[in-house]
C-alpha cells in the first residue's frame, strides 16, 4: 500500500513540460545568474517562460552587444555567458561575438531560435542556416531535433563550453520544439568518448622541463590567458618565485602575474615593452604557459627566441608546435602542470647575470612618453586612472591605440581584472563587454576604456548601463580619429590618411545625457584631476570624453614582418 503511494507520487512529480520550460529548468540547474537576450518571433515561446523566471534577463539594444556582454561576464567569472537570440538576423548578429569568443577561448552557451522543423530548408521567414554559419566559429553546435534531448544537450553544452580549452557552444532550437510538450526525461550521464581533455601532465615531460630549467642560463616564462582560464595565478607566482624565473605576459594574459612583482617583465609583442621582448629574444629556455604564440606576440617567426629551447604547456595539443617548434611539449591544464612543477623542487637555474641584465633594462627602457603641458596625453590619463583606482578596477577595452595604452600603463595586480578582445580585435567590443564585467563583479569599479571609433560601434548599450545603473566609468580617449589606422597610415602609407581622420562626431556628452548619464569633456590634466576625484567616488555611470593629443602614437612597436628584437620607438629613460 505504502509502496503504491510512493509510485503515484513520483508519477505526479514527473509532470509534462514544454521545450521552453525544460530549457529554463536546465539553465537554473546550471546556476545561470544572467541571460543576455533579445526576443523575436522564433523565441517567443521561450520568452513567455523567461517572463516567469527568476534568472536576471538583460536586454541589450543589439544582439552584438548582448554577446559581447556575455563575453565580458565569462572573462571575469570563468562561467559561461548565456545568450538567447531569435532566428535569422538575431542569430547572424552574434556571429562576430562567437568568433571573438572562439579565438579568445571564452566559454559561452548561446541559444538561437530557429523556424519550425517542418519549414527548415524552405527559406522561411527569418530562417538562416546558423549551424552551417557557426560551425567554424563554435567549439560545438547543436540543433535540437527531439524535445526530450533539451536537458541533456544543455548539460553537455555547459560541460563542453567550460572544460578543456573553453569556447562558445551554440544550441539552435526550432520553434515547434520550444512549444512541444513532454514528460520530464530522465537525466543521462555525459558520455563523450571523442572529447577527453588531458588535464594531468605527462611526468616525463615535467622531469625534462625541470632539468632544462636547472641548466638554463636565461630562462623566461611566457604567461598567456591559459593561466587565467585555469585559475593558476597563485601557482604561477609560487613557481616563478621558487625557481626565480622572470615572467613575460601576452596581451590576454595580463593579470596572471602581479605587474609590480620583481620578476614581472611586462607585456611582450607588437606594442610590448623592450625588456619583455628582448627577454624572449635572448632567452635560452622559453616556458610558454597557456599562450598560443600569436603572430602579434612573436613578430617574424624567424627572429623569435632564436636561441631558446621551447617548452609549451597547453591544454590544447593542437596549439603545441603550431607556430613555434617545441622541444618540451606538456599537454595539461596550466594549474595541474604548475603544481607538478612546484612539487619537483628542481634546482633553480644559476642565472644572476640574466636577472641583473633584465633588471637593468627595466630601469633603462620603461614605457616612455613626452608629457606636454599644452596637450593631454593618453598615457597620462591611464596613469592617473591607475593611481586613482589603486590598480583595482576592472579595465575593459575596445580595440586600437587606447587598448595598447591601457595594456601598457594600467598595471594589473591580480587576475581577472582585464577584459579585451585580443585574437579577433573586435571594435565595438568594449562598451557592451563592460556591462557583462560589471554584472560579474558587482563590487568592482569598471573602467570602459574606449576609442572614439569603437565607442560609436555599440553606443546603443548606454541604455543598458543606465537601466541597470552599473558603476561603469566610460573613458573615451578621443583623438577624433581611428587612431591605430591613422598611426599605420602615418608609418607605412606615406601619411595618406584614407578615411581615418576627423570624422564628423556627435557630442558624446550630449549623447550620454540623452541616456540620462552624466558626461564631461576633459581637455587638460587639471580638469582630469578634478573630474576623476569626483566621479571615482560614486557608483554612478559616467562618460568621460578625454580630448587627447591626436598625433600620439603607440610605442614601442614591432613593424609587421619584423622580428621581436627590431622594435622602433624605444627610448632610454
Amino acid at each position: 500500500m505504502l509502496q503504491e503511494t510512493a509510485l503515484t507520487n513520483t508519477k505526479a512529480e514527473n509532470k509534462s513540460l514544454n521545450g521552453s520550460e525544460l530549457l529554463l529548468q536546465a539553465l537554473e540547474k546550471e546556476k545561470v545568474e544572467v541571460i543576455f537576450g533579445y526576443p523575436g518571433g522564433a523565441v517567443l515561446p521561450i520568452y513567455d517562460k523567461i517572463y516567469d523566471s527568476k534568472i536576471l534577463h538583460v536586454l541589450p539594444r543589439h544582439e552584438q552587444g548582448g554577446i559581447h556582454a556575455a563575453e565580458g561576464y565569462a572573462r571575469i567569472t570563468g562561467k559561461p555567458g548565456v545568450v538567447i537570440v531569435t532566428s535569422g538576423p538575431g542569430a547572424t548578429n552574434i556571429v562576430t561575438g562567437l568568433t571573438d569568443a572562439m579565438i579568445d577561448s571564452l566559454p559561452l552557451v548561446v541559444f538561437t531560435g530557429q523556424v519550425a522543423t517542418g519549414v527548415i530548408g524552405t527559406d522561411a521567414f527569418q530562417e538562416a542556416d546558423i549551424l552551417g554559419i557557426t560551425t567554424p566559429i563554435t567549439k560545438y553546435n547543436y540543433q535540437v531535433r527531439n524535445i526530450e534531448d533539451i536537458p541533456h544537450i544543455i548539460k553537455e553544452a555547459f560541460y563542453i563550453a567550460t572544460s578543456g580549452r573553453p569556447g562558445p557552444v551554440l544550441i539552435d532550437i526550432p520553434r515547434d520544439i520550444a512549444t512541444a510538450v513532454t514528460e520530464v526525461p530522465e537525466e543521462r550521464e555525459i558520455y563523450l568518448p571523442g572529447y577527453q581533455p588531458t588535464l594531468k601532465p605527462n611526468y616525463l615531460q615535467i622531469r625534462k622541463l625541470t632539468e632544462a630549467v636547472s641548466r638554463a642560463k636565461k630562462p623566461v616564462i611566457l604567461a598567456g590567458a591559459g593561466v587565467l582560464h585555469s585559475k593558476a595565478s597563485c601557482q604561477l607566482k609560487e613557481y616563478a618565485e621558487q625557481q626565480n624565473i622572470p615572467v613575460v605576459h601576452t596581451l590576454l594574459g595580463l593579470g596572471g602575474f602581479p605587474a609590480e612583482h620583481e620578476l614581472s617583465l611586462g607585456m611582450a609583442g607588437m606594442h610590448g615593452c623592450y625588456t619583455a621582448n628582448m627577454a624572449l629574444y635572448e632567452s635560452d629556455l622559453l616556458i610558454n604557459i597557456g599562450a598560443r604564440f600569436d603572430d602579434r606576440l612573436t613578430g617574424n617567426l624567424k627572429h623569435f627566441a632564436p636561441n631558446a629551447t621551447v617548452a609549451h604547456i597547453d591544454i590544447d595539443p593542437a596549439e603545441i608546435g603550431k607556430n613555434v617548434p617545441t622541444e618540451i611539449p606538456v599537454v595539461a591544464d596550466a594549474k595541474e602542470a604548475l603544481i607538478e612543477l612546484i612539487a619537483q623542487e628542481g634546482k633553480p637555474p644559476s642565472h644572476h647575470e640574466w636577472l641583473k641584465t633584465l633588471a637593468g633594462w627595466k630601469i633603462e627602457y620603461p614605457y616612455v612618453y613626452e608629457n606636454n603641458a599644452n596637450t593631454l596625453k593618453p598615457q597620462k590619463v591611464l596613469e592617473m586612472l591607475y593611481q586613482k583606482t589603486n590598480g583595482e578596477a576592472i579595465v575593459v577595452t575596445d580595440v586600437g591605440q587606447h587598448q595598447m595604452w591601457a595594456a601598457q600603463y594600467y598595471r594589473f595586480g591580480k587576475a581577472n581584472r582585464w577584459v579585451t578582445s585580443g585574437g579577433l580585435g573586435t571594435m565595438g567590443f568594449g562598451l557592451p563587454a563592460s556591462i557583462g564585467a560589471a554584472l560579474a563583479d558587482k563590487d568592482a569599479t569598471v573602467l570602459a576604456v574606449l576609442g572614439d571609433g569603437g565607442f560609436q560601434m555599440c553606443t546603443q548599450e548606454l541604455a543598458v548601463i543606465r537601466e541597470l545603473n552599473l558603476p561603469i566609468k566610460i573613458v573615451i580617449l578621443n583623438n577624433v580619429a581611428l587612431g591605430m589606422v591613422r598611426q599605420w597610415q602615418e608609418l607605412f602609407y606615406e601619411e595618406r590618411y584614407s578615411h581615418s581622420k576627423n570624422p564628423v562626431q556627435p557630442s558624446f556628452v550630449k549623447l550620454a545625457e540623452a541616456y540620462n548619464i552624466k558626461g564631461y569633456v576633459i581637455e587638460s590634466e587639471a580638469k582630469a584631476e578634478e573630474v576623476l576625484a569626483e566621479v571615482l567616488q560614486n557608483r554612478e555611470p559616467v562618460l568621460l570624453d578625454f580630448r587627447i593629443d591626436a598625433n600620439e602614437n603607440v610605442y614601442p612597436m614591432i613593424a609587421p614582418g619584423k622580428g621581436i628584437n627590431e622594435m622602433v620607438g624605444v627610448k632610454q629613460k
Binding site: 549551424l131 572529447y195 593542437a318
Partner: protein, 172 residues
C-alpha cells in the same frame, strides 16, 4: 606528399560539415574524402587523402581533427601496411572495331563492363589509386565521355610489420 588519414566519427548531423570546414578553414588540401558506416552502429568511418608539404602540416591536421568533439579516433596510416581501394566508373566510346581491343585491356586490370550502349561502354574498376590512374590513361585514346571516382577508402591490414616488432625480433 600524399597522406591517408582515417577517422572514426559519431554519425551525427553536421559532422561531415565540421570536418570539411576544418580543412578549408585551416587551408588544407583534400584530395579525396569518403564516408560510410563502420562496423559500429552510429559510428562512421571517413578516409581522407590529403596533399601536404611536410610532416608538421600533417601533425596539425591530425591534431585539429582530433580536437573535434565528434571525432573518436584519427590515424595517419600512410606509413603503415594498409588496404586501400578506390572505385571508378568510366563511360568510354566504343565501336565494334575497338571493343575486342578494349577487352584485352580490361581483363588484366580485372575491371568489368557493367553497361553496354550503342556506342559506349561503362567500365567499373576497383583498386589502388595508381592502378586506376593507369587504367584511365589507357582508356583515354578511345575517348572518355564521363568519369566518376569514389576516392580511396582504406584501413590497416590485419598484420602489421611495425618498426616496433622488427626491433623486438632483432633484439631476440
Amino acid at each position: 606528399m600524399k597522406r591517408i588519414i582515417t577517422l572514426t566519427v559519431n554519425n551525427r548531423p553536421g559532422v561531415l560539415n565540421r570536418i570539411t570546414n576544418l580543412f578549408s578553414k585551416r587551408n588544407y588540401n583534400i584530395e579525396s574524402i569518403t564516408v560510410g558506416h563502420s562496423e559500429i552502429e552510429d559510428v562512421s568511418r571517413i578516409t581522407c587523402v590529403v596533399n601536404v608539404e611536410n610532416d608538421q602540416v600533417i601533425e596539425q591536421i591530425t591534431k585539429q581533427l582530433n580536437k573535434q568533439i565528434d571525432v573518436l579516433k584519427v590515424t595517419d596510416i600512410s606509413e603503415q601496411s594498409i588496404v586501400a581501394r578506390e572505385l571508378a566508373l568510366i563511360k568510354v566510346l566504343s565501336t565494334p572495331n575497338t571493343r575486342s581491343e578494349m577487352n584485352a585491356l580490361i581483363e588484366p586490370f580485372r575491371a568489368s563492363i557493367v553497361d553496354v550502349g550503342k556506342d559506349t561502354l561503362v567500365i567499373q574498376i576497383t583498386g589502388e589509386s595508381d592502378k586506376i590512374e593507369a587504367f584511365i590513361e589507357l582508356m583515354k585514346p578511345y575517348g572518355i565521355k564521363e568519369l566518376a571516382r569514389t576516392g580511396a577508402t582504406a584501413f590497416l591490414r590485419g598484420t602489421q610489420r611495425s618498426s616496433n616488432q622488427v626491433k623486438n625480433i632483432s633484439i631476440v
